[in-house]
């Protein structure tokens, strides 16, 4: 089996940012996938133009995945290619994987991590931080997971190859999604209390606001739906504001 050097790994990682660059209804991210894989194919089919062409043609076929988790597929397919796996096997592998990578990524990133990062930035702003601080908080927190996923996916795919299911079945991903959506609910509560607390000026009002924040923290962890927390806390906040006025 051919080794995949550190330089090629880096090339795959960097190219993975362009995986959606030619998104289209015919192949979805298929052409992007082939583009990311090119450094590996170049090693395997060095000098054989015909073989290279046919490998590329195979990989521009329809493929889909969450963009960050696409590196898992790239890594695993790179390993399969290096092991000399049959075309039909690789095709079946890609087909079986694409739905799962899409749905896992949707649950973890779009439905949990992104809203949580945005809420965290809003809370930071409500605490009176300047606008650029909120921006930085969002970008740093969001991209910590984003870049982490891309890099973990590539390493895991290259290591596991066709056994990638073992890595994905680990409960870590769903635990992260669960944790992120709980934290998001908590932050939604905190944000709404902070939003109304600007009305609280005296010591009593501040005390009530502090209670509201505590309630937000407690409810956030208990109630999974951020909307209920939000409603409850806007209500408490409304009382606080009325007492002040």
């Amino acid at each position: 089996m051919k080794r995949i050097s550190g330089r090629i790994r880096l090339a795959l990682f960097l190219r993975s940012f362009a995986v959606q660059g030619s998104w289209n209804y015919q192949t979805l991210i298929g052409t992007g996938f082939a583009y990311v894989l090119i450094p590996v194919l170049r090693v395997l089919y060095d000098g054989d133009r015909e073989a290279m062409r046919s490998a590329l043609r195979r990989h521009v076929e329809v493929f889909n995945s969450h963009p960050y988790l696409a590196t898992l597929a790239v890594g695993a397919v790179a390993r399969l290619e290096c092991e000399g796996a049959q075309e039909a096997l690789i095709r079946r592998f890609k087909n079986a994987l694409r739905g799962s990578l899409g749905s896992l990524g949707d649950q973890l990133v779009w439905a949990a991590w992104r809203p949580m990062s945005a809420l965290l930035a809003i809370v930071v702003l409500l605490f009176g931080a300047p606008w650029w601080a909120g921006l930085i908080v969002f970008l740093v927190v969001y991209n910590a997971l984003h870049l982490g996923l891309r890099s973990w996916g590539l390493q895991t795919g290259l290591r596991e190859g066709i056994d990638i299911g073992n890595a994905l079945r680990s409960p870590a991903i769903s635990r992260w999604a669960h944790w992120a959506s709980n934290t998001g609910a908590l932050l939604a509560g905190l944000a709404s209390v902070l939003a109304v607390s600007v009305f609280a000026t005296g010591p009593t009002e501040s005390g009530i606001t502090a209670l509201g924040i505590l309630a937000g923290v407690a409810l956030g962890y208990r109630v999974r739906s951020g909307i209920w927390v939000l409603l409850a806390l806007v209500w408490i906040g409304g009382i606080v504001a009325r007492m002040v006025v």
């Binding site: 209804y25 076929e61 079946r92 739905g99 749905s103 949707d106 439905a111 990638i164 299911g165």
Partner: protein, 160 residues
């Protein structure tokens, strides 16, 4: 209606089905009808990775599905039945299995020989004829990718 969704979608179990349709109809069970997959445990393992906790998927051959379809319809549990291609659908529809059933075309993507019908439906002439056969057997065939999108009946589609 125990077969809450009978869908042709190459991607089988994926975000649109699990999150989009799943959130809409709250299925108790997903059944994937495909001859090759029914005999391939390693592929099944990859397909079920994207399922949310608590939801399970069964993989059965077309013939088994035809034998069990009646039972799924009468079962109080809600089923999502997924097929990979129009060919399997036509085989399932043999003997009038799908009479009165609603068939949803969700994602049949571009491949050699297929032509654009809708942004998410590409069909070959052969597949179009097979769909007409399914419709003639008494099924109601239409396309819709996600629950909120408009439903496009087979009669309104442009023949490839």
């Amino acid at each position: 209606m125990p077969v809450a969704l009978l869908r042709v979608d190459e991607r089988l179990i994926h975000g649109q089905v699990v999150v989009g349709w799943g959130g809409h109809i709250h299925p108790d069970q997903i059944v994937v009808v495909d001859d090759a997959l029914a005999e391939s445990p390693w592929e099944q393992e990859l397909y079920v990775l994207g399922l949310p906790p608590g939801l399970e998927a069964d993989f059965v051959s077309v013939e088994d599905a035809r034998a069990q379809f009646e039972r799924w319809r009468d079962d109080p549990r809600r089923y999502i039945v997924l097929l990979r291609d129009v060919g399997s659908l036509r085989k399932l529809a043999e003997c009038g299995t799908l009479r009165g059933a609603e068939v949803n075309l969700g994602g049949v993507h571009h491949a050699a020989g297929r032509r654009h019908v809708l942004p998410y439906v590409f069909l070959s002439e052969g597949e179009w004829r097979e769909l007409e056969e399914v419709a003639d057997s008494g099924a109601e065939v239409s396309a819709r990718d996600v629950p909120g999108a408009p439903r496009v009946p087979l009669g309104d589609m442009k023949k490839p």
